[in-house]
């Protein structure tokens, strides 16, 4: 991993001043903290899991550049349209790889989701991935159909509708909490409330999945479920500093 969570001001001294080099300031605003707490209660998971994940996301993920939103969507959309003039799957995948470069640079490619590939991220506070958001909706709505947990967007809506929701603090944090609940269920093998049965290690493993998915980090579900000990080398797997911060909050 190329990150070092102990960097001065978390590597961003402009956003997060750290005069002594040892203290941690809360990256969340009061509103964001309140929403994180509210959604944690709604989804039955610990508040420090939601708040800590969002905080880590704000501190570490600096790749999205909001001011070029319009430019990036135009470029990516144009390439996607060009790509899908070719109908065979190989060429489509090739175009998908080309778009990876744009995704890397701009951090936004919602059109690919529209084309059925399920790819593209959105820049909410949680930087919730659009494809992951769809899967979260599907999961929560099928497992908890009568609880009204997810925004009533409907899976047939244009990705732009979902994107607009993800762009808001309220929508982005709710989707993030839903995503974390999904993996808490998988982690514990049960669909009951997890507010009191997740340990710090459980939360760190779930947080890791939030960042890079089951397949990316653990290879498969079995790998995820057997991973009892997170990385101990100071990599982003360990967000204990955030857990400590939000455990102290009321």
């Amino acid at each position: 991993m190329s990150y070092n969570m102990w960097n001065y001001g978390y590597g961003n001294p402009v956003k997060y001043t750290d005069p002594t080099g040892h203290s941690v300031q809360d990256p969340l605003t009061a509103t964001q903290w309140s929403l994180a707490k509210q959604e944690a209660i709604r989804f039955g998971i610990p508040k420090e899991l939601v708040a800590g994940t969002l905080a880590a996301e704000i501190v570490y993920d600096e790749d999205f550049i909001n001011t070029i939103y319009d430019v990036s969507t135009a470029v990516v959309g144009g390439i996607a349209d060009l790509a899908f003039m070719f109908r065979d799957r190989t060429t489509r995948n090739l175009c998908y790889q080309l778009l990876e470069g744009f995704h890397e640079y701009f951090g936004l490619a919602p059109w690919l989701e529209n084309k059925g590939i399920g790819y593209g991220s959105a820049p909410g506070i949680a930087n919730m991935h659009a494809g992951a958001a769809v899967r979260t909706e599907e999961y929560i709505n099928s497992i908890y159909p009568d609880q009204g947990l997810m925004p009533d967007l409907g899976l047939d809506n244009h990705p732009g509708v979902r994107l607009q929701t993800l762009l808001t603090d309220e929508g982005g944090i709710r989707y993030a909490a839903g995503y974390l609940r999904q993996y808490a269920d998988l982690r514990k093998g049960t669909t009951k409330d997890h507010t009191n049965d997740l340990s710090d290690i459980d939360m760190i493993i779930i947080y890791t999945v939030y960042r890079c998915s089951i397949e990316g980090c653990y290879g498969d579900l079995q790998g995820f479920q057997t991973a009892q000990v997170p990385a101990a080398d100071g990599s982003p797997h360990d967000f204990s500093v955030f857990l400590d911060l939000y455990k102290k909050k009321p």
Partner: protein, 163 residues
């Protein structure tokens, strides 16, 4: 004149790029062909893109489920020995046993999961679900195992996995 000339070059470059690349799925299929050979039956195959919620670590994965009359220990050893012989490594920072190898354009990571008791396998597999017909077939085999392999481009791998 200049504008027409530029357009021609842009078109040529686009066509060349589009016709010269290999898809991630094709790369995974090719890489699967180089894995150790174990006498078994392919039961199910699933491929999709993967990505965490942040979108930072993403790529394509291919999962193949197999059934065999061999015992679990033999299957595990065949793969472990085979991966080592073919240059795959387990990097020390891995949270679980994942074998990696770098290719010309990206990073491949794979992990065999071997089930001693096929009746204990979950139908829900995280980002996908085993079809009913496949799920019913699993207990027929002495040992069931799956090989999952991911492919991420070099730039993503460097950012996500540090190499």
């Amino acid at each position: 004149m200049m504008s027409r000339f530029s357009s021609l070059w842009i078109t040529i470059v686009i066509v060349l790029v589009l016709t010269s690349c290999v898809s991630a799925e094709e790369r995974l299929n090719n890489k699967f062909d180089t894995l150790p050979e174990v006498e078994s039956t392919l039961i199910y195959e699933y491929t999709d893109v993967f990505s965490g919620a942040t979108g930072q670590c993403h790529g394509t994965f291919l999962v193949r489920w197999f059934g065999t009359d061999l015992d679990a220990e033999t299957v595990s050893k065949l793969y472990s020995d085979g991966f080592s012989e073919k240059g795959w490594i387990i990097r020390p920072e891995e949270v679980v046993e994942i074998w990696s190898i770098e290719g010309d354009h990206g990073l491949y990571r794979t992990r065999p999961s071997v089930f001693v008791d096929p009746t204990g396998i979950s139908q829900e597999q995280g980002s996908y679900r085993l079809p009913d017909s496949v799920f019913r077939e699993l207990p027929r085999y002495r040992t069931v195992y799956l090989i999952s392999m991911t492919y991420s481009s070099s730039s993503v791998a460097k950012r996500c996995f540090g190499k």
